[in-house]
Symmetry: C2
Subunit: 275 residues, 2 copies
């Protein structure tokens, strides 16, 4: 398949998914709170793409949720290109993706994160994943979440779940605190060759995340919580901010490729505490 | 002078200063709120030093203030030693220092930061500085703060103020947002040779910071503030957390040399918001 067609297919899918997620979120908010949408360009002088980030704040259910779409292209900065497969000798790149971070008002509902992306340098590959960060232990929720992920992965390969779960556990880990960010999920990167199979898997990830976040939220949307639980959530969010600023690959990618600051840091919690 | 004597003199001074700062802070709190002090060791199995961090929280004036003393020694991890002057070939090091971060309840009073340290590898040198981060513009305060610093620097060398002010402006800068952390101050590092002169300057920095924080606080301690100003402070603190996690050299040094997590991250604000 022609690379241009691949780019069109993937970026269209990410855009469609952004709409689908936002529709669901608005429905959960009974259509009483809306997203604020911002379009941005990577370069004001010449066309290097850009994106649209949508943020909904202070909802009844979502304290802050960002749904971010981007399609950017150009050249990697000198210092950065050595870190990117296939860009060592040719700094040209094209990248499109969607990322979602949900910070919930009810501290019994976990923070949820999803991201998928398609990147072209002299190679082209998919990356992405999803993970869940509760501030209170809930074994049923954890089991259910991982079961759904396992089933989804098995639809594509019997090897995916074990591999991508492990990758997730290793990636979403706060080394300085020696603690995991949350209850894990799946994470994958540099998924190249076999575009059609991989794209099918990536689409399934999107649809599955939609199913997951709706399910997790509905289960607890009416559960009462205490101020003590809310305080624990603020502290857990401090850890979330630490991870994103100290380790996150997407944050670094964005900051170093001239992405939009607000779109990149959309993942930071609305309010966090450090003890 | 013998290196062991230098180590004793500097670490004793940092320890004395820790006491002096804490006494002043307690006095500002009318002795009604006290520090919680924690001693920690770098290595449980063998003596590699450690430190004592003191945190006071939820005072009438200080929302959170940490005063941190440490004296650590041992070997730098392989990956880290190449970043440290004089440690490329011999990873052995000794380091002692004091650091202070003040997050104030009254949003009209700026956050204040101070640090001085003495580090020995195959060389030995001083580093440190202080800077001030208001969430509301106050030209008088800025002018006064820089005047005091300038006078202090000039007592030691006519070149220091210009040089160290510039270094501070460059260091405490949020590149991703293209904005300075606050109103600057002074910053210096790798100050070697001439131990006695340098140590005199470093002691003057400590005494001067004591004078500065008392003055800044007294000027505004009774000023009324609004919730809007408090909200602005929370957002400014989000930037503070970003700086410390994305760029701060001391944070990286601590995290990568097996320092105490709570002591290292003591600088993070008690509560922060992201818009």
């Amino acid at each position: 398949m022609d690379l241009d067609i691949k780019k069109d297919l993937t970026s269209s899918w990410f855009k469609t998914l952004q709409d689908a997620f936002c529709d669901d979120i608005k429905k959960i908010e009974n259509n009483k709170t809306d997203f604020k949408s911002t379009n941005w360009k990577r370069n004001k002088l010449k066309d290097e793409g850009g994106g649209e980030y949508r943020i909904l704040k202070n909802g009844k259910v979502f304290e802050k949720v960002g749904v971010n779409f981007s399609k950017v292209y150009g050249k990697f900065p000198k210092e950065y290109k050595k870190n990117i497969p296939g860009a060592e000798k040719n700094a040209k790149f094209w990248a499109s993706g969607i990322s979602v971070v949900m910070h919930m008002k009810n501290p019994l509902i976990p923070a949820m994160h999803f991201n998928t992306r398609y990147i072209c340098t002299t190679y082209d590959w998919f990356g992405g994943g999803m993970d869940v960060t509760p501030s209170k232990v809930d074994k049923t929720e954890k089991k259910d979440f991982h079961n759904i992920l396992k089933k989804m992965c098995n639809r594509h390969s019997p090897h995916y779940y074990t591999k991508y779960k492990k990758w997730c556990d290793e990636y979403f880990y706060l080394h300085h605190r020696k603690e995991p960010r949350g209850i894990g999920g799946i994470f994958f990167d540099y998924k190249k060759n076999n575009f059609e199979e991989n794209f099918k898997f990536v689409r399934d990830c999107g649809v599955t995340f939609q199913l997951i976040f709706n399910k997790i939220i509905q289960r607890k949307i009416k559960k009462k919580w205490t101020m003590k639980e809310k305080e624990r959530q603020y502290v857990k969010r401090g850890r979330y901010a630490e991870f994103n600023l100290l380790y996150d690959r997407g944050t670094k990618f964005g900051l170093q490729t001239g992405g939009n600051i607000k779109a990149i840091l959309m993942s930071l919690p609305p309010k966090a505490k450090w003890e």
